[in-house]
């Protein structure tokens, strides 16, 4: 019987694992959750660029970014609920949250972000349209819009001006809220001293920046795709600006991840040999090939070229589309490598196990795919309900004064 470092393949285990470590407890759904909240936070930050930092160029994507954030936020709790052994007990996190647990924050941070930031901001920005749509619709749709008006049909210029001011404050508050929504996820991993792959003060920061990268890339790709589908012209000034922000945010994200890597290699603590071997064997494809080469270096190079070399519109659009898509794949791979990678090696640093992803179970690949597509479906419904397209503002109803005329009084 082989007892040495020769590969002993039993249950997919090489070397030695503590007996309870052999089966992974956090599955692909737990990979999906930070990916989704990352998209939410990133999309919101892009929207805030226009609202708070007055970057006019990205205005065409403002409403689309908010609706995208909402679509993903609605889906966000689903992978968690499907993972829990007792999802019916999840309200306990609201009734008796444990103040020392980062995970206990989830319920409240989520609810705050959903209601006091995202829904509030969307409502304030769309309120005029909602009232007008309520007046023009029939049947069930009319009921839906009427409910959304909360019974108020006041769209006087002064009330809309108030909405604008309050919305600005909400966006301002929303920026640190977005950081909280995703930063605490990073802290959930970063605060676990038992796991050296996760334990790092950099973890929340890396998560936030990779979230911004994925969110910006997502909105950029969605804007380009939906504009194409509607047979309209893509606003190049808009996507050029978004791509620029994507590029610089990506540089910061990449630097942070390099810092973590260099620090690990230099200090070479007791976990280093085990983790290094894992990255070069079990995580080679997902980490080196997908996350680093395809998902980080390639988009960075493509974006850098567009920033430095003058290229024509068609080429730029293609490069943005490719870079954006590769970025999204790369950030997903990063979440995979953190969550799954952190469970593949033994805490004894003497062995490795295998993640046997199932296909049609509650936590299987099929569910993960459905949960990734579901937000797109929800976005489609939201777009139908609350059209986000710029330059297609609903015409004023008779008797409604334009805001400019009102302000002149």
């Amino acid at each position: 019987m082989a007892e040495s470092w020769e590969l002993v393949f039993m249950n997919g285990v090489e070397g030695f694992m503590y007996p309870n470590e052999i089966e992974l407890h956090w599955s692909v759904l737990i990979v999906l959750y930070p990916f989704i909240t990352g998209l939410v936070a990133g999309a919101f930050i892009l929207a805030s660029l226009e609202r708070v930092f007055r970057v006019e160029a990205v205005k065409p994507t403002y409403r689309l970014a908010l609706l995208t954030a909402l679509s993903f936020l609605i889906v966000a709790p689903l992978p968690l609920q499907l993972h829990l052994g007792h999802p019916e007990r999840s309200p306990e996190m609201y009734f008796t949250p444990h103040s020392t647990s980062a995970m206990a924050m989830f319920g409240y941070v989520y609810l705050w972000y959903l209601m006091a930031v995202l829904v509030f901001e969307i409502w304030l920005d769309y309120r005029r349209d909602i009232v007008l749509l309520a007046q023009r619709s029939r049947g069930l749709l009319r009921l839906v819009y009427r409910v959304m008006t909360l019974g108020s049909d006041n769209i006087s210029p002064h009330s809309l001006h108030i909405d604008e001011r309050v919305g600005w404050i909400v966006t301002l508050v929303g920026i640190p809220s977005a950081f909280m929504l995703h930063g605490y996820v990073g802290f959930i991993f970063g605060s676990i001293k038992a796991n050296p792959w996760w334990s790092s003060p950099l973890m929340p920061v890396v998560f936030i920046f990779s979230a911004m990268v994925s969110g910006i890339a997502c909105v950029m790709v969605l804007y380009m795709a939906t504009t194409r589908l509607r047979h309209k012209q893509i606003d190049m000034r808009c996507v050029d600006t978004i791509a620029m922000y994507l590029f610089y945010t990506f540089i910061i994200d990449f630097s942070l991840e390099m810092l973590d890597l260099i620090h690990r290699i230099y200090e070479a603590d007791e976990s280093f040999r085990s983790l290094d071997f894992m990255v070069h064997s079990k995580l080679y494809f997902s980490h080196i090939v997908v996350q680093i080469i395809l998902g980080t270096l390639t988009p960075l190079i493509l974006l850098a070229i567009t920033q430095v070399v003058k290229l024509n519109e068609v080429v730029r659009k293609r490069m943005y589309a490719i870079a954006g898509t590769l970025t999204l794949i790369g950030i997903f791979a990063m979440r995979w490598n953190v969550v799954i990678g952190g469970q593949l090696f033994s805490k004894s640093f003497l062995g490795y196990t295998t993640y046997k992803m199932t296909l049609v179970t509650r936590e299987g690949l099929l569910v993960a795919i459905v949960l990734t597509i579901l937000p797109i479906g929800i976005l489609w419904v939201l777009i139908k309900l609350l059209p986000p397209w710029p330059g297609e503002d609903l015409p004023a109803s008779s008797g409604e004064r334009k805001p400019i005329e009102a302000a002149a009084d």
Binding site: P91, F95, M115, N154, S156
Partner: protein, 159 residues
């Protein structure tokens, strides 16, 4: 008055929050278990529920309260510190109702678990190569399990 009308919709939105919070607080009063928080951030009733788990091992004191003869045999032999259920397995059922048959351990498997020779065991621990030592003869043929040293006087014990 016109000014208030223009703020009114915001108050309606805020009202949603207030109503939701009141409903939440009311539900919380019913749902949080009464013993929660008594000793710390957990349900204190869990302590007695866990302590009420049924016993499967009786504990050697229970065995010795009836099997005094075996106990005196054991106490003077090499297995003095080996508790009864280490070999006989969980016997809480038998201790509660002695008519339940405690079963007989299979010495072919049992003795080897401890005494089969292995360089991994402490050198001072008594161990033999079972095949060479007994050539398939059951252990209790020569060794009385409750006082296994050859030559020790058995005073009762394994039937």
């Amino acid at each position: 008055m016109n000014g208030f009308r223009d703020y009114a919709h915001l108050l309606r939105f805020a009202a949603l929050f207030v109503i939701a919070f009141l409903i939440f607080w009311a539900i919380r009063g019913f749902v949080v278990p009464p013993s929660f928080g008594k000793y710390g951030h957990y349900r204190a009733a869990a302590l007695s529920e866990i302590a009420a788990h049924p016993l499967h091992h009786a504990g050697h004191a229970a065995c010795e309260s009836c099997h005094t003869d075996i106990q005196s045999t054991k106490a003077s032999g090499k297995h003095a510190s080996v508790n009864c259920e280490a070999c006989h397995g969980p016997q809480a059922q038998h201790a509660a109702d002695p008519s339940i048959d405690p079963g007989k351990p299979d010495t072919a498997v049992l003795c080897a678990r401890c005494h089969a020779v292995s360089a991994a065991r402490p050198r001072s621990f008594p161990q033999v190569n079972i095949a060479d030592h007994s050539s398939g003869v059951p252990c209790q043929t020569c060794h009385q399990p409750h006082s296994p040293e050859i030559g020790a006087t058995p005073a009762g014990g394994a039937k």
